[in-house]
Structure formats: C-alpha cells, structure tokens
Amino acid sequence: MRAIEAVWPDRQGRPRGFRWRRRYVRVATVLESWREVRAWWRGEPELRCWRVEGEDGGIYELAQSADGWWMLKVYD
C-alpha cells in the first residue's frame, strides 16, 4: 500500500483522476467499490476502496482513509 500524491474526487467522493508515478491517470470507469474494516484493535482506520479503470488501460485499486489516499494494487 503506497500513498498517492493527489486524487481528484467527484462530488460523490469517487476518484475522477489521480497522480501515480509522476503520471496523471484519468479514471475511465469505476468498476467496483467496497469498504474494509481493518485491524481496528491496532488502530488501523477503515478503508473505502475503489477499483477503477484508467484511461491508460490500467486497472487500479485505490483506497481512501482518514489519512489520505492509497494505492492498493495495480493490475498489469
């Protein structure tokens, strides 16, 4: 899980574009979203997760917590 420098959400909070590895990726489709209750007994915050398809053809999983946005996974 790596921090994402900047994510631009729409009014519903869904990611519309984000910066990843010095590239701006515009979101083409939000494929799925879910919430994850993590190890709360260790103080880990709840995550709101998004699986999105970028206009570059990549599939990315983004997560939003109170601390900011995170990249969970990039599908090749």
Partner: protein, 364 residues
C-alpha cells in the same frame, strides 16, 4: 540544451489568493510538506516541496493555509493542456509547486527560452526556479541545486534559471545524486553508491535513454504476418516465431511492448481480431511472451490458416529496469511487486474474485 525543469511559486490560484486575504506572505501546507508559497516567503528562501518544519528558517510570520486538492486542479489541468500543445515531451512531477519538465528542441539560448518562460510566469505563477540542460534529470538537478553549485544562471522577473553548460555535462552527470533516478535499487545504497558516477555503466545508459514523460515519443508500430501450414505447426511454434521477432524489435528500439493485437484467420476464411493495451511497457522476454500468450489464448482452437501480430513499442521507465546484473544492461522491464503479502491482502484473497487464491505466508 532542450529541457527546462521548473518549480513554481505563488501559483495563480484564485481560492488560495482569496484565503491569503491579499497577503503575499503565506504558505500552503499539506501534511508536513509545503505545497506553495507566496511571493514574500519565496523571496526569503521558502520553496514548495520543502518540509513544513524548514519554514522557521525563513523568518516572518507567514499565514498558513491548508492544502485542498480542488485548489490546484484547474491550474494543473490548464498547465497540462498548454504543455501538450507547446512541448515536445513533458512530465509534471509533483503538484507541490507544479514541478515538472518539458522539452523544447529549438530553444538553446536564454532569449529563445524567453517566450516559454513568459508563458509560465506570470501566467501560471509569479515565481519560478528553473534548470536547463540536455536531459531532464540534469535539468531537475540544476533547478534544485544549481545555486549551491554555482551554475551559470540568468534571472528574469520573478525567478532564476540555472543552466548546465554542455561542455561540462559529463562531469555533472557523474555528480548527479542517485535520488534523481527513479526508484534506485536498494542494493546501490547498501554498496554506498550515492551518485550516478558511482554506479558502473549507469551514466552511459541514462544519457542515451529517452526520458519517459506524459507525452513521450510516438510508439513504433510493427506487424508480422505468417501463413500457417495445417497439420505441421502448433501454437508453440507460432508463439516462438512472433515472440522472437518482438523481442529483437524491443532490443533494437530499447523499448517495451505497450499494445498487442493478434489477427486470426480460420481455414474457411473467417477473421478475428483480439487486442490489448497495457499501462506500462514490458521488455523482459518472459513478460513479453506472457503478454503474447494472453492474447493467443483468446483465439479459437487450432487449426488456423494465418496469424498476424501487430505490436506497439514505447519507452520503458528507469524504475522498471534491473540495472545491476551480469551484463549491466537494462534487460528487464515489468511491473514491480512489493513481495510479501500483507494481512489485508491475504484477507482480500478469500473473497475478491479478482485475486487469485494464494496460500502465501501472511505478514502480520
């Protein structure tokens, strides 16, 4: 010298300027990083990208404003549109100070850079610190540390631009800190290497690699057709044939495969086309063949009369390469992984159909 790297300050963002209440002594802060500074703070030495704690060294009592993504979105998008139109290649590195670089091949004197700089300042910001060199890595370094190394410079209203003289570039390449190379391998740090000149062969490779930006070189397209002899060939042979051609093309172009299309023609003349594009280039032979297999397995079963493969080759990023190997060449390019799965990823593997079931050892 064709590359300009910049960092902007006092960015012309109406909501920030309104929040500053007319003052030019302000800093936009996100977490522990300074994202933008007003003219007064810039002139005292404050720069975007610095640690928040460092602001105390520049005196005054700057007004602190909280960063919001929506603040700079419009400016960044407008800047990107302008760069796509004006620059041959470009990359926006960070939203902190809208740092980035661009290539203008015809600009080789301060006066030639004038029109580019006039478009940046004061159109997008009122302060700029820049670096000019023949490669974006050197230009970025000149921008950040040109003053400390007393590089030749010229000043303009609102900023200073440092230039790396082309006669001395070899010497400056050797001194370039490794932090400017994207994701340098940890092994280099363990060996005590800190500069590009310390790593055998790295300088030569970096100098001749095309920099990967948001608007890069146009991809190279290649197409191979092959008539098949029924009963004599199998998919393994087809894969080997196209795979070898693709790999030799990648080696020749020093790039990776970005897009593949396979056209299949059945014995009755029917045609089928399957195509896929990947977000990052791959050059490692094993990965290239895996991408080819991905497409071939979407085709109908054997026999076929003819198969054609079309490939698009683009540049590979520095961070994708394995620099340290027996032949000291950037042979591998693929998506990186973080290695061990964390606990949450193991849990996702139980319910998420996107994830293959992996019985790896979780890391608590």
């Amino acid at each position: 010298m064709a590359y300009l790297a910049w960092r902007l300050g006092a960015i012309a963002e109406p909501t920030v300027l309104a929040a500053a209440g007319g003052s030019t002594d302000y800093a936009v802060v996100r977490g522990d990083t300074v994202w933008d500074v007003g003219e007064a703070l810039w002139d005292r030495g404050g720069r975007p990208g610095q640690a928040f704690a460092a602001l105390k060294w520049y005196g005054g009592e700057p007004r602190l404003l909280a960063w919001r993504a929506s603040c700079y979105q419009a400016v960044e998008e407008a800047l990107r549109v302008w760069l796509e139109d004006q620059a041959r290649r470009f990359a926006l590195e960070s939203t902190a100070g809208m740092a980035g670089w661009g290539e203008w091949p015809e600009a080789d004197t301060p006066s030639a850079w004038g029109s580019v700089l006039e478009a940046l300042v004061p159109r997008w910001a009122r302060r700029i610190q820049g670096g000019v060199a023949s490669h974006p890595l050197l230009a970025r370094w000149a921008r950040d540390e040109g003053g400390a190394h007393r590089l030749p410079h010229w000043t303009l209203a609102g900023g200073v631009i440092y230039a790396v003289p082309w006669q001395q570039e070899a010497a400056w390449w050797a001194k370039l800190p490794l932090r400017y190379v994207e994701d340098p391998p940890a092994a280099w740090r363990r060996r005590g290497w800190k500069r590009v000149g310390d790593v055998p062969g790295l300088m030569e490779q970096l100098r001749c690699l095309p920099p990967a930006g948001e608007k890069g070189e146009a991809p190279v397209r290649a197409r191979w057709d092959r008539e098949l002899v029924a009963g004599e060939e199998r998919w393994e042979g087809v894969l080997e044939y196209f795979g070898q051609r693709l790999i030799s093309l990648l080696a020749e172009r020093r790039g990776g495969v970005l897009r593949l299309a396979v056209e299949w023609q059945g014995e009755a003349g029917q045609r089928l086309r399957r195509e896929r594009r990947w977000p990052e280039a791959a050059a490692e032979p094993r990965r290239v063949k895996a991408r080819l297999v991905d497409l071939l397995q979407l085709l109908p079963p054997w026999p076929a009369a003819a198969v054609a493969v079309e490939a698009e080759v683009g540049p590979i990023a520095v961070r994708q390469m394995r620099w340290w190997g027996p032949d000291l060449r950037p042979a591998a390019a693929g998506m990186g992984t973080d290695g061990a799965l964390d606990r949450q990823e193991v849990l996702r593997g139980y319910w998420d159909p996107w994830r293959a079931v992996r019985r790896g050892k979780g890391r608590e």
